[in-house]
């Protein structure tokens, strides 16, 4: 291992790299690209000192690339190493990969076991996925607990959007089916939406969600037309939710949500190294190998000597 590669430093470094790529939006980075290979090499180094965190961050790299099997493989690995199902990370990764219906399966567990992920961030994730009913429930529950949200925009918007969905009888499963069609087109274009929250508004009797993509206006219009056609064919149009693609041109700088938060929430969660845990685990008499032991022969000599003393 590179002596300079300390876990916290590496996590920060990988997090910054992920954030940079995610915020750039546009075409998904190729798995073989230099920047992804560099990220994977860094996660390899991290794995040598913290296998669980290394695996989790590797899953995030693959989610960004759009490689679903590898994402799930490394999430499973992180689960095996940490002993935690990591439901929130699974839900978020599936949303990032564009599989809202499967992400939905992890929702109940994720909301119960979201670790140190701040409630504000959870609210943003729910709203970005169009899960306004759930966002409203979260706001209600948080209000009872007197939790204060910083993302006031969503605190005001989510209940109104949920009410519109309610008027149309639009359920979470319907929202997910509509969202899945949108993600299918993004996959066909091998594109990320800019990891800003979607632009939202309430128009007369429907909720409008516009996902910003890095294409020219003609291309974006064609993608929206295709989405409208598909939703119509599947009977998913006119249900109180309208989704479209939009160019970045008319919007201010992104405020960094899903992908960057996938990193931030991790960085802000439990400390990387738990000294108390180490003290508990290593209770009982121990004998530290002196730093002067630098060869196999030195190690054997130390242990020979130690064995004669402890008999």
């Amino acid at each position: 291992m590179n002596p300079a590669a300390q876990p916290k430093q590496l996590v920060d470094q990988i997090g910054e790299q992920l954030k940079t790529i995610a915020l750039r939006g546009g075409e998904r980075p190729a798995a073989g690209s230099w920047e992804i290979r560099k990220l994977l090499a860094d996660t390899d180094r991290l794995q040598s000192v913290d296998a669980s965190m290394g695996s989790l961050l590797k899953a995030k790299v693959f989610a960004l690339v759009g490689d679903r099997p590898s994402t799930l493989y490394w999430l499973d690995n992180a689960t095996a190493l940490s002993g935690n199902q990591l439901p929130y990370h699974r839900m978020l990764a599936l949303l990032l990969l564009g599989y809202p219906e499967e992400a939905n399966d992890f929702y109940d567990e994720a909301i119960e076991d979201r670790g140190a992920i701040p409630v504000d961030m959870v609210l943003l994730h729910l709203c970005a996925a169009g899960w306004f009913q759930r966002a409203s429930e979260l706001i209600e529950a948080a209000t009872i607990k007197k939790l204060v949200f910083k993302a006031t925009k969503w605190v005001h918007f989510a209940p109104r959007a949920a009410a519109v969905f309610g008027d149309h009888g639009l359920k979470i499963d319907d929202v997910n089916r509509i969202q899945a069609e949108m993600h299918e087109i993004l996959r066909e274009e091998n594109s990320l939406w800019l990891f800003d929250a979607p632009r939202v508004s309430i128009e007369e009797s429907f909720v409008s969600m516009r996902y910003v993509v890095d294409f020219d206006a003609d291309k974006v219009a064609a993608m929206t037309a295709l989405l409208t056609d598909r939703l119509s064919q599947r009977g998913l149009d006119g249900r109180g939710l309208h989704i479209a693609f939009e160019t970045a041109a008319s919007e201010s700088a992104p405020s960094a949500l899903i992908a960057s938060d996938m990193v931030n929430d991790y960085q802000s969660s439990a400390p990387i190294f738990d000294r108390e845990r180490m003290d508990r685990a290593l209770a009982g008499p121990r004998f530290m190998l002196p730093q002067s032991a630098t060869t196999a022969r030195d190690v054997c000599a130390y242990l020979d000597s130690l064995a004669s003393k402890v008999q």
Binding site: A80, A281, T295, A296, V310
Partner: protein
Amino acid sequence: MTFTVDFGRQFAVEWNNYQQDQKDKVASFVITVQVHGLDQTKLPGKLSASWINANATDHAYALRNDLWHYHIGLPTYRVNMYGPATSDWLLHFQHVSGSTHISIVDMYTHYTSKGGFYLPKPPHVVPVPVKGN
């Protein structure tokens, strides 16, 4: 040095019972870990957290006590097409995720006579109490 290494008392007590080839393997592992950390690419044998693929009881015990093991290469290594080499004998150690320290506690064959996966117990390990007890 990247990692520090210590030895449990019981391991030290049993050291003289090991054969020279066993001692050599332990020493070689220790030196590699001191220099490179738990870097699978630098180790010939498979390195694994002991709770992976364990049954429910062992899983909880191994996780609570941060138990890991290394395939030490005795009597020989079995080369695998899809991963690092494995062996019948394992070197057991404790490692808290994120730390740069390991504590070597035991060396034993992979499976017990009853066919279960061997995990070091007292006196090799002073178990972390189960929460609530």
